[in-house]
Amino acid sequence: MKILVVDDFSTMRRIVRNLLVELGFSNPLIQEADDGHNALTMLKASSFDMVVTDWNMPNMTGIELLQAIRAEPKLKGLPVLMVTAENNREQIIAAAQAGVNGYIVKPFTAVTLKEKLDKIFERLAASGASA
């Protein structure tokens, strides 16, 4: 499974990568982008199976990236998991309305990450089976 990890802090990208590897995802298939703009370019250039993105980033924020993904016919079905320090109601609602698949507030644990990922894949499998 090819995953794109988007965060402006290199530490956080590395932590998310580390956790994903711990959860059994293949390290070489995980790629990184340092803002929404670069992420979108990478997503358009090659096919990914999932995006894990921060909210607060320069150039293009996580919510803008999410909206851009949902607006792009080729990308609109891509699962997006937000991992962010933004925990106010309005922002969580905005992410939900923009079509986010999961929302994790930092700091988080590996257990939380696993739960959210499992939930995303369960829902995808269910919608795939019913389609």
Partner: protein
């Protein structure tokens, strides 16, 4: 048109108002009124001028106080220090993650070796088997500890975001101060060094502030 003012009222009025009220033709009345309004305006402007000069002096002192407070020497230094904090904490987090990357395979290897020994010798009393059992417990505990250590590094990201907000705040204080200096300078009758325009880059801000002696 104007009725003569009675003697009792006239006593309580300043002479220029009395003269104004006793003016007979319209043009002369308007001229006298203009003179009076202009006099009042001049008083007001003089008072405003004094006020603006005082304000300019106070703002300039505030600016130089900020520049001479010692450590940090100036707002630019304060920003640089915060950028260093960001870099150092990031470096520390990466070093910790390097350590985890190095130790995780070691812990896994120890656990595997201990399992191999126990497969061969699972005695409850033989020292080699006892040690292997302890080594396995230790290796597994290390693995969990290393996972926790990875997660704890995410505080660097959270702290870094706060630091970035403080940097943005300092920038806004700095540009507000600059605007205040320019505004009070103009009000106090000093020539503004640059036409009022948006200052975009940090260099421009620093240059402008230095022109005001900051």
């Amino acid at each position: 048109m104007n009725a003569p003012v009675t003697a009792t009222v006239a006593e309580s009025l300043p002479p220029e108002v009395l003269a104004l009220l006793n003016t007979q033709d319209g043009t002369a009345f308007e001229q006298a009124l203009d003179v009076m309004v202009r006099q009042r305006e001049q008083h007001l402007f003089r008072a405003l001028g004094v006020l603006a000069r005082d304000l300019h002096g106070a703002v300039s002192r505030l600016g130089s106080d900020l520049a001479n407070e010692g450590v940090p020497d100036s707002m630019t230094d304060a920003r640089n220090y915060l950028a260093e904090v960001l870099e150092m904490s990031s470096k520390a987090a990466h070093r910790s993650l390097d350590f985890v990357d190095r130790m995780r395979p070691e812990a896994e290897a120890l656990a595997n070796n201990a399992t191999a020994v126990l497969d061969f010798n699972s005695s409850e009393t033989d020292p080699a088997a006892v040690l292997a059992r302890q080594a396995k417990v230790f290796a597994n505990a290390c693995g969990e500890g290393l996972n926790d250590m990875v997660l704890v590094q995410s505080w660097q990201d959270l702290a870094g975001q706060r630091v970035k907000k403080v940097v943005a705040f300092i920038e806004s204080v700095e540009s507000s101060l600059l605007e205040l200096v320019r505004l009070t300078g103009a009000l106090a009758g000093r020539e503004a060094p640059v036409e009022v325009a948006k200052v975009s880059s940090q260099d421009e801000v620093d240059r402008l502030l230095s022109e005001f002696g900051f």
